[in-house]
């Protein structure tokens, strides 16, 4: 109890927290990787509140997770570390409310912003922003300015400032200094803010969804394995050599040979998916496990991609795997008919 109490009162170490929770995606020096770069020039433009809320809320559907279970002190420690590492100071923005006309802003947005940020504000082209997932016709990836995490993190005066002076870190041009009047920028702020009313939530899972589909085969073990392979071949999947579930974990004489993982792949699909979600390997879902139980029944188990895909916080992957899920289910139903 004393140890736990002591730990609870220790000031959180922002560098350690950054290494543990941020460096994997943003890289230690903030050069980016799966996550966007965090250059000093960008940190100079954003407030500590923006950084705090970004860590706390993440970017729903865009890979960056919401660290909602961190304590406030821990999130503040990460923000402090970012400030110290970048040797930047927090900018201050006016608290004066911004009043703009979203309809006027929409016209200006179409003229000046849509080319980079897209009609729906989600950023240029298809993809989530993950490394390699986009058509890179731009040198940088314009931010998704319609993302709910972004809109809840950024203040209106900060949006105004970014439009006015641009962003050196991402080559976003400045629209102040004669290009747009202050009121026109206000109108743009109002239009960007209006994306909040058009948020599209990812389809929620049904309450009875399970992480795995389990089917009972009407056939014996060997016939079921053969049927699975035939169905996979018919669906244009390449099948890899069989792999026993216990293989490599126990000697070859003790391994259960009536539990087998049939592994399959369509390399073209896999390659496209890896561009969208490089961490795909943590699941490798293309495996149907066939198990003979002690009572002779044969079960087939296949991961429920609708559930698994949600763990990546990657909307594009969710769409891809929702489609693939139907293929998996069709194959299993064909096998167990």
């Amino acid at each position: 109890m004393w140890v736990a109490g002591g730990a609870a009162h220790a000031a959180p170490d922002g560098r350690e927290l950054y290494i543990e929770h941020c460096s994997a995606c943003h890289q230690m020096q903030g050069h980016g990787g799966i996550g966007l770069p965090l250059p000093n020039a960008k940190l100079r433009d954003v407030t500590d509140d923006y950084l705090f809320k970004t860590v706390r809320l993440g970017r729903p559907g865009r890979v960056m997770p919401a660290f909602q279970r961190m304590s406030d002190a821990q999130v503040h420690a990460i923000v402090k570390f970012l400030r110290e590492r970048s040797k930047t100071t927090e900018p201050t923005y006016s608290d004066a409310p911004i009043v703009g006309n979203a309809e006027q802003g929409k016209v200006l947005y179409a003229e000046h912003c849509v080319k980079c940020h897209g009609e729906d504000g989600s950023g240029e082209g298809q993809g989530t922003g993950v490394t390699g997932s986009r058509e890179r016709s731009f040198l940088v990836m314009p931010a998704s300015i319609s993302n709910s995490g972004f809109l809840q993190s950024i203040s209106d005066p900060m949006i105004h400032h970014v439009i006015e002076v641009g962003r050196k870190s991402s080559d976003m041009p400045a629209f102040g200094a004669g290009k747009l009047a202050a009121q026109e920028i206000n109108d743009l702020v109002a239009y960007v803010r209006s994306f909040e009313q058009r948020q599209v939530e990812a389809a929620a899972l049904a309450p009875d969804e399970r992480p795995t589909h389990i089917y009972e085969s009407p056939y014996d073990f060997d016939t079921t394995v053969a049927n699975v392979k035939a169905a996979l071949t018919g669906a244009n999947f390449r099948i890899f050599p069989d792999r026993l579930v216990e293989e490599g974990l126990i000697d070859e004489f003790s391994v259960n040979t009536r539990q087998i993982g049939v592994r399959f792949c369509n390399f073209n699909v896999l390659y496209g998916m890896l561009k969208t979600e490089p961490r795909l390997g943590v699941v490798l879902p293309c495996r149907i496990t066939i198990m003979e139980r002690k009572d002779g029944t044969v079960l087939l188990a296949v991961p429920n991609l609708r559930v698994v895909s949600r763990w990546f916080n990657n909307d594009e992957l969710v769409e891809m795997w929702d489609r693939m899920e139907q293929t998996f289910v069709s194959i299993i139903e064909e096998v167990t008919l």
Binding site: I19, E20, H21, S23, A24, C25, Q27, M28, Q29, G33, I34, P65, F67, R69, M70, Q74, R210, P211, T212, I214, R243, V245, E246, E247, G248, L249, I250, N256, Q259, C265, F267, N268, L270, Y271, L274, P278, R279, L280, G281, V282, V283, L284, P285, R287, T289, M291, L299, A301, V302, P303, R310, W311, F312, N313
Partner: protein, 160 residues
């Protein structure tokens, strides 16, 4: 004594789960060394935590064989036979998630390690036995990633 232990077991499980207060669905670490070398550290750390490495899937080679360009990308499968048997016998719904897997992904001269947080499965299983098992896997995976970060910490410090 045994009774006493039984009574505190759920508390220990809760503590394990509580320790994952910062947990996300994905556990990740960045290792400042080339992936080929990092893979050896990964295998060693897995075995030091009492698991056996079942096999390593060469995803990059598979893709290259079919003409798709890929950097170093391996998936390490590992587990404990007693745990895998418990799952296959009693909880077939978990069989798709065993053996456990760590993806070893090259990013230039660094390596990204990613693993599914077993606790992402917690909401689907009420059985205390599964809750404890998932908590234990989570704890071990966090420890493996921490150890790998520490083992290569000198590299991190040198780069800062």
């Amino acid at each position: 004594m045994k009774t006493h232990l039984r009574s505190i077991l759920p508390l220990v499980a809760l503590w394990l789960i509580g320790g994952a207060a910062l947990a996300d669905d994905m556990l990740m670490a960045r290792i400042p060394m080339r992936a080929e070398i990092a893979l050896e550290y990964v295998k060693s750390s897995i075995e030091e935590h009492g698991y056996s490495v079942a096999h390593i899937q060469l995803c990059d080679s598979g893709m290259s064989d079919f003409g798709y360009k890929s950097d170093f990308y391996r998936v390490v499968f590992f587990g404990k036979i007693s745990e895998v048997r418990m799952i296959t016998e009693r909880y077939p719904e978990l069989v798709s998630y065993v053996p456990l897997k760590i993806a070893v992904i090259a990013e230039k001269d660094e390596t990204l390690l990613a693993v599914l947080n077993p606790e992402a499965l917690l909401p689907f299983f009420a059985a205390e036995e599964v809750q404890i098992q998932l908590g234990r896997w989570h704890s071990d995976l966090v420890s493996i990633l921490d150890e790998l970060r520490r083992a290569t910490g000198q590299g991190l410090a040198a780069r800062n």
